[in-house]
């Protein structure tokens, strides 16, 4: 338990280290999720148009 606490406090730098990592995780997740979501929507859109055309 104390080792976990020690880990989280980062020798007093926790307030700077963890927001940095959290933000990095956020940027990475957005970079992954956004194109995937848009790609899925675009594919559905193309499929729908095809349905209308044929």
């Amino acid at each position: 338990m104390s080792s976990l606490h020690e880990f989280l406090s980062m020798g007093g730098y926790g307030a700077f280290v963890w927001p940095a990592y959290g933000l990095a995780a956020m940027v990475v997740v957005v970079n992954i999720v956004l194109p995937l979501k848009r790609l899925r929507r675009l594919k559905a859109d193309i499929r729908r148009r095809q349905g209308i055309a044929s």
Partner: protein, 247 residues
């Protein structure tokens, strides 16, 4: 023979081929990135000892350095792709440039924020007009300008070419901007070093850093592949290959 050896290059001018290649490669890059970053995080946050001068605050460099490196490499990709697109009139190259720019901007932003969070405990202020932070800020402006310009045109081909001209002007300027900012900040304050004192970095710190750099690069490649797919499909949604690709 000569004709044959260039065949691979010409295939990259074909949107369906590039789309399929990107589809094939993206998961591989993503998995490798996941493994490398997991190993890098374990090494960086858990098993490496605190720095004797900066304590645990230095652990921010494990994300700051890869982001800063990617932010610069990505501008190189944008500029190279723009050159290829302008010189050989290759549409795919422009697609790569347009797809890479938002990624580059996001990593530049990350490098700036992590630099500020690192600077607060080390320099006592979130923002100091350090040469590296200032250059990175200007790089962010260059990315935003490129994105704004290439999207401002209704016709994506004109937007591509306008953005490409801007990217080339930018890449000629970047070294001048960088060195002038370095000179300017050395004039107004002593240069601040990122690695306290001397730049000797221990192996226990270097290994996780290298893992993170390679991991971020693979992650970037995976995201870029997906964005290229998105751009290609969006631009050629009425083409026959697009109909087949979404099946």
């Amino acid at each position: 023979m000569d004709k044959y050896s260039w065949a691979w290059f010409h295939r990259f001018a074909s949107p369906p081929y590039v789309y399929r290649v990107a589809e094939l490669w993206a998961p591989w890059f993503a998995w490798i990135a996941g493994l490398l970053i997991a190993a890098g995080l374990y090494g960086g946050l858990w098993s490496s000892p605190p720095d004797y001068q900066q304590g645990d605050g230095f652990r921010i460099i494990y994300i700051h350095v890869p982001s800063a490196y990617l932010s610069m490499m990505c501008y190189g990709i944008v500029a190279t792709a723009s050159t290829i697109g302008l010189v050989w009139r290759m549409k795919i190259a422009h697609t790569v440039a347009v797809a890479a720019a938002p990624l580059g901007a996001s990593f530049t932003f990350l490098a700036l924020i992590t630099g500020a969070l690192w600077g607060k405990p080390m320099w006592g202020a979130y923002w100091v007009w350090d040469a590296r932070l200032t250059s990175e800020l200007i790089l962010l402006f260059l990315y935003l300008g490129f994105i704004a310009l290439s999207r401002a045109y209704e016709d994506s081909r004109s937007g591509d070419r306008a953005g490409a001209v801007l990217a080339l002007v930018g890449v000629v300027n970047l070294p001048i901007i960088h060195y002038s900012v370095v000179w300017w900040s050395s004039l107004h304050q002593g240069s601040t070093k990122f690695f306290g004192g001397n730049a000797d970095i221990q192996t226990s710190m270097l290994m996780p850093l290298l893992l993170m750099i390679f991991g971020f690069t693979c992650l970037f490649a995976a995201c870029l592949a997906k964005r290229v797919q998105l751009e290609l499909l969006g631009r050629e949604r009425n083409a026959a290959w697009a109909a087949e690709a979404v099946r």
